[in-house]
């Protein structure tokens, strides 16, 4: 007889649960005052372009906020976000499973601001970061030039890219590409045959070395496994310091360039791509200027320069 209670009891509980859940009202959006307060803290604490992850993913009131930052609604679908040395997170209404950041980052700032919780997560190597090219791609100057010194400027900035005038896929900017099966954020710099595509970063604070990665997107290798090599060159103050070639193999290739001779100075760093045949050469890269010294104060990306001397609040939980 006892087991006869099981199904009616379970169904009755399910019906009550279903009614409670299905009749939940639509919550009010996070108030403008709260967002203003969060943005004020971010203005003093955060570097420009640092990613801000907002939970819950549907919090529409966040769309128009953090204009200087890379906004990610919900758990980032691109693995590239995890490559950032520092990531901010705004958690509204207690929503959000933030455990995914624990694998790569450490919580260093945690504060309740109005209705939301503001957190900062840092990678251990953040103290060695001096300048990140991916975050600063908007400050880059992009152009094409050929071996007859003919130059075409790529000065139309659309959809996070500097678009060059000859072909619309020949552009330089923040993109999401699949590399070794994972969606990654990187700088897209598809070369154009007969031209060199150049991204120029002026006034870059130099330190011990530049480290980075480059790759062809998986699609390029799958669709054209014997495509042309892409020549990828790095120049500092017009002097070649790195000369690499892509290989038709999936995955990132790491590079490291010693820049100790420029340490302490500001320099112009150029990234150039070129190829003989440009079919399916979905080339992308990412790089940062790094310091060897542990605890070196990082030079913040451009827009946060004025905040460089502001005291850093480390409120580790």
């Amino acid at each position: 007889m006892k087991y006869k209670y099981i199904l009616p009891v379970i169904v009755a509980a399910a019906v009550i649960f279903a009614f409670v859940r299905v009749l939940q009202p639509v919550p009010e959006p996070v108030s403008a005052e709260t967002w203003d307060a969060v943005e004020k803290i971010m203005a003093s604490e955060a570097w420009a372009s640092e990613p801000v992850i907002v939970h819950p993913v549907w919090e529409h009131s966040a769309f128009q906020r953090f204009k200087n930052h890379t906004l990610s609604m919900g758990k980032p679908t691109s693995q590239g976000v995890y490559a950032y040395p520092r990531v901010w997170m705004v958690i509204a209404r207690g929503a959000g499973n933030t455990s995914y950041l624990k694998k790569t980052h450490k919580l260093t700032f945690d504060r309740q601001v109005g209705e939301v919780r503001l957190q900062r997560w840092e990678k251990p190597e953040v103290k060695n970061l001096v300048y990140d090219f991916f975050s600063n791609v908007r400050q880059a100057k992009v152009r094409l030039f050929d071996n007859k010194d003919k130059v075409r400027a790529c000065n139309s900035y659309r959809n996070l890219h500097w678009v060059c005038p000859i072909r619309d896929w020949n552009k330089v900017g923040q993109s999401t590409v699949q590399v070794a099966g994972e969606w990654q954020s990187a700088i897209w710099q598809h070369p154009l045959a007969k031209w060199t595509t150049e991204a120029r970063f002026d006034d870059v604070p130099m330190d011990d070395f530049i480290k980075g990665q480059y790759a062809l997107a998986d699609a390029a290798i799958e669709k054209l496994p014997k495509g042309s090599k892409v020549s990828f060159r790095v120049l500092i103050n017009d002097k070649v310091v790195g000369d690499f070639s892509s290989v038709n193999k999936k995955g990132w290739k790491d590079f490291r360039i010693d820049t100790s001779e420029y340490k302490g100075s500001r320099a112009t760093v150029l990234f150039q791509t070129a190829t003989a045949r440009d079919a399916m050469r979905h080339f992308c890269w990412r790089a940062s200027v790094m310091s060897d010294e542990k605890g070196a104060v990082a030079a913040k990306p451009e827009q946060a320069e004025e905040n460089r001397d502001a005291p850093t609040e480390q409120e580790a939980r």
Binding site: V11, L71, A279
Partner: protein
């Protein structure tokens, strides 16, 4: 009065059976027809409806000519011409859409092309509810028939798919029909034996899911074979009948499949192999699942189960799973060896339905297949799930009857009360998500908000929105509206113009590339890897309108060039000032367009199309 006592009173009468059947099945058809306008078009409608029309045209001409003794339509070239748009999938669903298009549009003129073709799919849906009702009622009893058919109608996603001009509801109907005729052929007229074989062929000619029905059927016949050994004459089926059924399926199905798909009438072997090869190596389609994007490699095996777990109304799901577990008791070898207690038809069919439910979802979940589109690929599972839900619901009521000391009056109202309580949350959930039913998630997931935060797809299928149509139709302040779509302009630029052809969307809304558009419509589809970048970019523009479902944004309209309003006002003042009695003709649109082309030195049409496609996914180099 509906009675708590199973099989007594009104429900036991023939009249009750007919009236309830008519009410549920007829009501379902009426509701489907009444809501056709609200269920947005999808990329499949745009693709399969023209293909269906093309095929129906072919059949109409071929049959007409064949009656005149002219068989020239069975010709390589004519078949190739009539299957230009789509020949990757067999033809039953498409031909049905084409047939209803011929009847309701061309002959009767009652519906426009798209809606007339969609009626074909709605008829499949109504047929499903009829079969659920009949099998539920006759195998398990009236309460199961009523519960299961209503529970199916109240599955929000299946309700939406019941309008979509594609193959999923059609294959659900034809798959279920195999099992339905299998049931009817146990002892019924010999014609049901023939129909089982024919229906297997029809189902094969609907979609690739259907042939897998052979697995549960063979198991069921083996089960019945064993019962004959034990019970002899009193077994539900004779061995002779089982052999006839095997013969019927074995001999009739392939010819029917062949006849219903003219594409195979020429180059048969090559084309059949091409069909098999295509589905063995189906290209990947993006899926967002628990916050991760899957394309290649495909989503893991558990994705279909989790999606079902969060996209089926919770009480229906719970009862369905309970029915499934109860049904599996029959797999106990001790039971199978001796069938103690004799033949129990309820128990036998519950097991058959459970095996079918598992196979319908299992063939998508376990092989290395692409998994995408919410729960659409395993729609054939849902009729079995609701039937099992009805079985559990009935058992629950029986248990309640045993343990509760109800008076006569309480007994009378217990069934309708339980029915309403169990299905009301599904109905409320459906109404709250209406008409964007692909956004529905159940109470377990926390509704659309909870599931979106969990990392599930809040929308898919490149669905058009009724609210979008209404939005543009309201915007009288803007003329010649140029829009583009992200992240998937490629699909939307093909589907929304259908609304213009049907005179539902104003004619001066047209699409172009983002740099030439005034407005950008961003659908918040996180399965697109570029979505975060696109949101990052366009959120810097003026937000005109965001359509939300229960607080969750589905799409946002951004104004990319708000300065055009100022210019227009400025221009209007100048025009007013310049008129001074004379009429100043504004430049014609074509003239303006020509001038802009001249300035930019670009080729207009080709460039627009290429640019549009490039914007849809990763940039493509030559």
């Amino acid at each position: 009065m509906l009675s708590f006592n199973h099989g007594k009173g009104f429900l036991a009468s023939r009249l009750g059976y007919l009236l309830m059947g008519l009410l549920i099945v007829g009501g379902h058809l009426a509701i489907l027809l009444a809501t056709v306008d609200d269920m947005g078009l999808t990329d499949d409608d745009d693709f399969y409806v023209p293909a269906g029309v093309e095929q129906a045209d072919y059949f109409a001409k071929m049959v007409t000519q064949a009656f005149k003794g002219d068989f020239s339509y069975i010709d390589h070239k004519k078949i190739a011409n009539s299957f230009r748009i789509e020949h990757r999938h067999p033809g039953v669903a498409k031909s049905m859409m084409g047939l209803t298009y011929l009847i309701f549009n061309r002959i009767l003129g009652w519906y426009d092309k798209m809606d007339a073709a969609r009626i074909g799919i709605m008829l499949f849906a109504v047929w499903i509810v009829y079969m659920i009702f009949r099998m539920g009622w006759e195998i398990f009893g009236p309460r199961v028939g009523i519960f299961a058919s209503l529970a199916f109608i109240l599955l929000p996603r299946s309700f939406f798919h019941s309008h979509v001009g594609t193959l999923d509801i059609a294959v659900t109907a034809t798959y279920l029909s195999i099992i339905y005729f299998c049931w009817r052929s146990q002892r019924g007229h010999w014609v049901y034996v023939v129909l089982t074989g024919v229906m297997y062929g029809v189902a094969m000619a609907t979609k690739l899911n259907a042939p897998f029905a052979i697995l549960p059927m063979v198991l069921f016949w083996a089960y019945r074979w064993r019962q004959v050994s034990l019970f002899g004459e009193s077994a539900p089926m004779t061995r002779k009948r089982i052999l006839w059924l095997v013969l019927s399926v074995g001999t009739l199905s392939l010819p029917v499949f062949f006849i219903l798909w003219p594409w195979l009438w020429v180059d048969t072997v090559d084309r059949f192999m091409e069909y098999v090869r295509f589905h063995m190596h189906h290209y990947g389609i993006l899926l967002l699942y628990l916050g991760d994007i899957y394309n290649d490699p495909f989503a893991p095996w558990h994705a279909p189960f989790v999606y079902t777990g969060v996209a089926t109304p919770f009480v229906t799901l719970l009862l369905g799973v309970s029915g499934f577990i109860i049904a599996l008791r029959s797999l106990d070898p001790r039971y199978l060896r001796r069938f103690p207690g004799g033949v129990d038809e309820r128990r036998d069919f519950a097991l058959l339905f459970a095996v079918n439910a598992f196979i319908c979802i299992g063939i998508v979940a376990f092989p290395n297949n692409p998994k995408y589109g919410g729960v659409k690929l395993w729609q054939p599972m849902f009729p079995f799930l609701v039937l099992l839900g009805g079985y559990a619901f009935d058992i629950m009521l029986n248990h309640l009857s045993d343990i509760a000391k109800f008076g006569e009056r309480a007994k009378k109202i217990a069934f309708p009360a339980a029915l309403v309580l169990c299905l009301a949350p599904a109905f409320i959930g459906m109404m709250r998500n209406y008409p964007d039913l692909l956004t529905y998630f159940n109470e377990l997931a926390g509704g659309t908000r909870g599931a979106t935060e969990m990392g599930m797809e809040r929308q898919y299928y490149d669905q058009c929105y009724k609210s979008y149509i209404e939005f543009w139709n309201r915007q009288e302040q803007w003329k010649d509206i140029v829009v583009s779509y992200e992240p998937n302009q490629h699909e939307y630029q093909r589907t929304y113009p259908w609304y213009q052809r049907m005179n539902k969307l104003r004619k001066d809304v047209r699409f172009s590339t983002p740099d030439r558009s005034r407005f950008m419509i961003l659908t918040h589809e996180r399965r697109w890897p570029r979505y975060p970048d696109i949101l990052q970019e366009y959120r810097n523009y003026k937000e005109v309108y965001t359509h939300k479902m229960l607080g969750v944004p589905l799409y946002t309209v951004y104004d990319l060039k708000p300065e055009e309003d100022k210019k227009r006002r400025h221009g209007a003042r100048h025009t007013e000032a310049g008129r001074s009695g004379s009429v100043v003709q504004p430049l014609r649109k074509q003239q303006l367009f020509r001038n802009s082309i001249k300035d930019k030195k670009i080729k207009p049409k080709k460039d627009a199309v290429e640019g549009g496609e490039n914007k849809t996914s990763e940039p493509v180099s030559p």
